[in-house]
């Protein structure tokens, strides 16, 4: 599946924030991590990733810094979760759990 937000709006933002919670990383690594963590369910191309990163940076939840990758020597923009981002992530997680529980209940009832 290309973009998790196609399935559920806001999911991609939550995934990015969650990924950056571990440590600061740049775009390619973020995409890799999401792909690994979801066991290949979500494959995120740059066309979805960059707008999402800029949107999150704009809201002040993440912050981009230029660094040099030691192995390749390439300059990349590395994103860090800000304090506001951490707060937001906690809230989003809570929301997600609520949604998940509610959805499970609703679907279980139907079954």
């Amino acid at each position: 599946m290309a973009n998790p937000s196609d399935l559920l709006p806001g999911t991609l933002d939550l995934l990015i924030l969650r990924t950056l919670e571990l440590k600061p990383m740049h775009g390619v690594v973020i995409a890799d991590r999401i792909e690994q963590a979801t066991e290949g369910v979500f494959v995120i191309g740059p066309g979805s990733l960059f707008p999402a990163l800029h949107r999150l940076a704009d809201k002040g939840w993440i912050d981009g810094q230029w660094i040099v990758v030691p192995e390749s020597g390439r300059r990349v923009k590395q994103y860090t979760l800000t304090q506001a981002g951490q707060a937001r992530l906690a809230e989003e997680k809570r929301n997600w759990k609520t949604v998940l529980t509610a959805m499970n209940l609703a679907l279980a009832e139907e079954l």
Partner: protein, 885 residues
């Protein structure tokens, strides 16, 4: 949230940097993927292909990010606007007062701009107006003369810089018949290429074809078409009678086209050859010595003005060499002058521009005063809001977004003011359009607020919003946090903004002083002009004109007609006396010529204004006869006689008896039979001029009037009461005769006061607005003082100050402030008033009485503005004020 706003703002200003950063980011992503594929064992080109496949097009990626940015920007702006609207709702009085004051200021400027736009910046509604040039000839090096037919033909045929050159005869009256009562309209006779050169797209039909140069065809104006022909499109192809001959309508000009001139008001156009019918003359119109045509040329594509001017110079030199007799030597190097069509007539340009410039300065001052008031208001509000601002700064808000929010608010308010101003000026322009200029030719001086003022109003509003918003926003966005949160009086304590506010108020009092001085001068000038002794009695006189020539009358038949009308109207009940003339006095200048005394060679010709008169003329206008006789039975068959005014008599015959003397105008010799009292001739404000009245019947054949003859009727009662009876008297003799210019002499006098009335009204309104605004400004700052100093006043009263002393203290400080504005204001007005000299009647620009009166008046107004709040100060009850804080 604030950092989001800030980054959005930063991105707006640093778009370039953000773009290259984004580019680098996307590139890096792609490169890392390439690196990976290479590591995985792919060939470099294969690796790049695979990477591209995974990345998609980089532009598409960047575009998606840009959409995010744009959304954030828009959201930030919308948020600012919502925030501003919320704060405005919280202080509705502040918003209403601000919008009102700015509306007045912007409205004044938009109105003045409409006038400037109409007379200085406007173009006729033709295609590519900037390439349409009016051409003038020069004489003795002086601009601006007309063209003779051969000179026009030379320029048309030789000047390659022009795609076409057309000529036209500017003012051609005609009686238009059919479709209702006959009426006199003004039009122009043009070369057949006129509309092609002008590139005028016709509203209905077409312009002239070359073959129509000799045919009776006519193009009518949109106004004439709607007014007289009910906007009937089938008029094209039909014939309408012009001065008794059918002319086929070929087209209707578009709305707003009145010819290529800026104020002449032409309503129809015929081809030039029709002049021999519409205005038969003995002059040889093909002569090189008879200059009578205006010319207009369309620059050829790709030709600059400079090139065209250089070529005209060559053509001029060529003509001068070829025909030395008709070209004075001084002309040879100058040739022709050209300017964009629709420019002001060169002779009046300087005066009109000076007048409009002073008007613009004055209206800008009104806006400045309004801005100062609003600034002071919002400074006061900033003082109130500083606790809120301090809280937000303490919570980590940076100044940029705070400033932007407050500026959004002030710009929003000023756009409200701008909107109000445009509406107000729309109304003002309509009010101003009722002013008419008294002139023997048709002038259009109407003003309308058109779409072209909108960008101006927009800029003015944005500028005003920034101007009045910046200082208070700056002040409010950098509060001394500690002091403000504790509730201490930061703004009054440091004394800094406090000082600024005082300077602003003094400045606005100074500006309104300058305004009022100008107002005072113009009002005195108007009053002087209205009381100038014109030398005749205008009350109780009705005027009414006909032009027999337009109906094919010969001079002999004209004389009979005018006599018959005079007799018939004289018998209308209530009519006391009746006389014909060729033009009413104070019509802005009709006819004049050089005169010398017969038998006294060497005196040189002196310019004399000429009026035609019939028996009863002096009686009708109430002009006393001082010596000799008035006109009696002086007919075409008897020797020419003249009545002169006193000024003429004393200047031509300083120590002689004028009666019986003979004076000469070319080959016409007049014997002076009477002397009358001086009257004003062309304009009310003029220096006395020499006037010679001649017998209408004696000169009507040799020197007919080009604009008809005016019947002056003295009536015992209201002159309007005989208007219809007088018109029926004319139509009883010839029902086809067009009667025009029916008006009382009083109305005519009002029009003659056009300039002083216009100036007096505009400056009067602006002066009053400025004074009101400055008065409110002074009042509100004193009021603010008092409210800020209640505690201090309370203490003073508590330790024994009498209320009277407290009031005196406030008054003294207020009046010091007022005087600090009035004194430099008077000085500035004194220096600037010199610019107004040429617009003032009978009052010196540095008229001490006006300046003195204005100073006293201002002192009184400012005293009242200070006195009201000072009473509040005196009423402070210490037991209340000291307890409440």
């Amino acid at each position: 949230m604030l950092s989001r706003l800030y980054s959005a703002l930063r991105r707006l200003f640093r778009r370039q940097a953000a773009e290259s950063e984004l580019d680098a980011e996307v590139q890096a992503y792609y490169q890392i993927l390439v690196d990976r594929y290479v590591e995985a064992g792919h060939r470099p080109d294969e690796a790049r292909r695979l990477a591209s496949l995974r990345c998609g097009h980089p532009e598409a990626v960047k575009e998606a990010v840009r959409d995010v940015w744009a959304g954030a920007m828009l959201a930030a702006v919308l948020r600012d606007i919502r925030y501003a609207l919320r704060t405005i709702r919280k202080a509705p009085m502040y918003a209403v007062v601000t919008v009102l004051m700015l509306g007045i200021g912007i409205g004044a400027n938009v109105t003045v701009f409409s006038i400037v736009d109409r007379f200085v910046l406007g173009h006729p509604p033709v295609a590519d107006p900037s390439a349409l040039m009016m051409l003038h000839t020069t004489r003795d090096g002086h601009c601006c003369g007309r063209f003779s037919w051969p000179t026009y033909a030379d320029v048309r045929d030789r000047a390659r810089s022009f795609a076409g050159v057309a000529a036209y005869y500017e003012l051609l009256p005609a009686a238009i018949g059919g479709y209702g009562d006959p009426e006199r309209v003004w039009g122009q006779a043009v070369t057949a290429n006129y509309f092609d050169v002008a590139r005028l797209a016709m509203f209905v039909g077409r312009g002239f074809t070359p073959a129509e140069e000799h045919l009776p065809v006519v193009v009518i104006s949109h106004r004439l078409w709607t007014r007289r022909f009910g906007a009937d499109p089938s008029i094209v192809g039909r014939a309408i009678p012009l001065s008794g001959r059918p002319y086929t309508v070929v087209g209707v000009a578009p709305e707003g086209f009145r010819g290529v001139d800026v104020i002449l008001d032409a309503q129809y156009w015929v081809t030039l050859d029709n002049l021999s019918h519409l205005e038969p003359r003995t002059d040889n119109r093909r002569s090189r010595d008879y200059q009578w045509l205006a010319a207009v040329g369309r620059l050829a594509p790709g030709t600059s003005r400079r090139q065209a001017e250089a070529e005209l110079k060559l053509v001029g030199a060529l003509i001068a060499r070829q025909y030395p007799a008709s070209t004075p030597a001084a002309d040879r190097d100058s040739g022709f002058v050209m300017e964009v069509a629709g420019s002001l007539p060169p002779r009046q340009r300087a005066a009109v521009i000076a007048f409009l410039a002073s008007l613009s300065a004055v209206s800008l001052m009104v806006l400045a005063i309004a801005c100062v008031n609003v600034t002071n208001l919002s400074l006061a509000r900033a003082a109130v809001r500083r606790r809120e601002m301090a809280m937000r700064v303490a919570l980590g808000a940076s100044r940029g977004p705070l400033l932007r929010q407050m500026l959004t608010e002030s710009i929003l308010l000023s756009f409200g003011g701008g909107l109000l101003g445009v509406f107000a000026s729309h109304w003002a322009a309509r009010a101003l359009s009722v002013f008419h200029m008294a002139a023997p030719v048709p002038l259009d001086t109407s003003i309308a607020v058109s779409g072209s003022v909108l960008p101006f109003a927009f800029l003015l509003s944005a500028g005003a919003g920034l101007l009045f918003g910046l200082a208070p926003a700056w002040a409010a966005s950098r509060p001394d946090i500690a002091a403000a949160l504790k509730g201490e009086e930061l703004l009054t304590r440091t004394g800094h903004w406090w000082g600024l506010r005082n300077i602003l108020v003094a400045a606005e009092v100074a500006m309104s002083t300058v305004l009022l001085c100008a107002t005072g001068l113009f009002l005195r000038s108007l009053s002087n002009a209205a009381h100038i002794d014109t030398g005749f009695r205008s009350g109780g006189v009705l005027m009414m004109s006909v032009d027999p020539r337009l109906h094919g009358y010969s001079p002999e038949r004209s004389v009979e007609l005018l006599r018959a009308v005079r007799e018939r109207v004289a018998s209308v009940p209530g009519v006391q006396s009746v006389a014909w003339t060729d033009a009413a006095p104070l019509s802005g200048g009709h006819r004049s010529d050089g005169f010398d005394v017969v038998g006294k060679p060497g005196g040189g010709a002196r310019i004399v204004d000429l009026f035609m008169a019939t028996p009863g003329y002096f009686e009708t206008l109430g002009i006393p006869l001082l010596a000799g006789r008035a006109f009696e039975n002086d007919s075409a068959s008897s020797a020419r006689v003249a009545v002169v005014n006193q000024y003429f008599a004393t200047h031509f015959f300083p120590n002689e008896e004028p009666i019986g003397q003979r004076v000469r105008d070319g080959d016409r010799v007049y014997q002076i039979v009477g002397v009358v009292r001086d009257t004003k001739s062309r304009t009310i404000g003029e220096e006395q001029r020499a006037i010679l009245f001649r017998a209408l019947e004696q000169d009507i054949a040799a020197d007919p009037s080009g604009s008809g003859y005016t019947l002056m009727i003295r009536v015992a009662a209201d002159p309007v009461s005989v208007a219809s009876a007088a018109q029926s008297a004319v139509h009883a003799i010839d029902p086809a005769l067009a009667v025009f210019g029916v008006a009382t002499m009083e109305q005519h006098m009002t029009d003659a006061l056009f300039l002083p009335r216009l100036a007096g009204t505009l400056f009067g309104v602006f002066g009053l607005l400025g004074l009101t605004l400055a008065g409110i400004g002074l009042y509100s700052i004193i009021d603010y003082w008092v409210s800020r100093r209640r505690r201090e006043i309370g203490i003073r009263v508590a330790i024994g100050a009498r209320p009277g002393a407290v009031q005196a203290l406030i008054l003294r400080q207020g009046m010091t402030l007022a005087a600090a504005g009035i004194a430099p204001g008077i000085a500035a007005a004194w220096a600037l008033s010199r610019l107004l000299t040429s617009f003032l009647y009978g009052v010196a620009p540095n008229d001490a009485a006006t300046f003195g009166a204005i100073s006293v008046f201002l002192l009184v107004v400012t005293f009242v503005a200070c006195w009201i709040p000072s009473r509040r100060a005196a009423a402070v009850d210490p037991s209340l004020t000291l307890r409440c804080d």
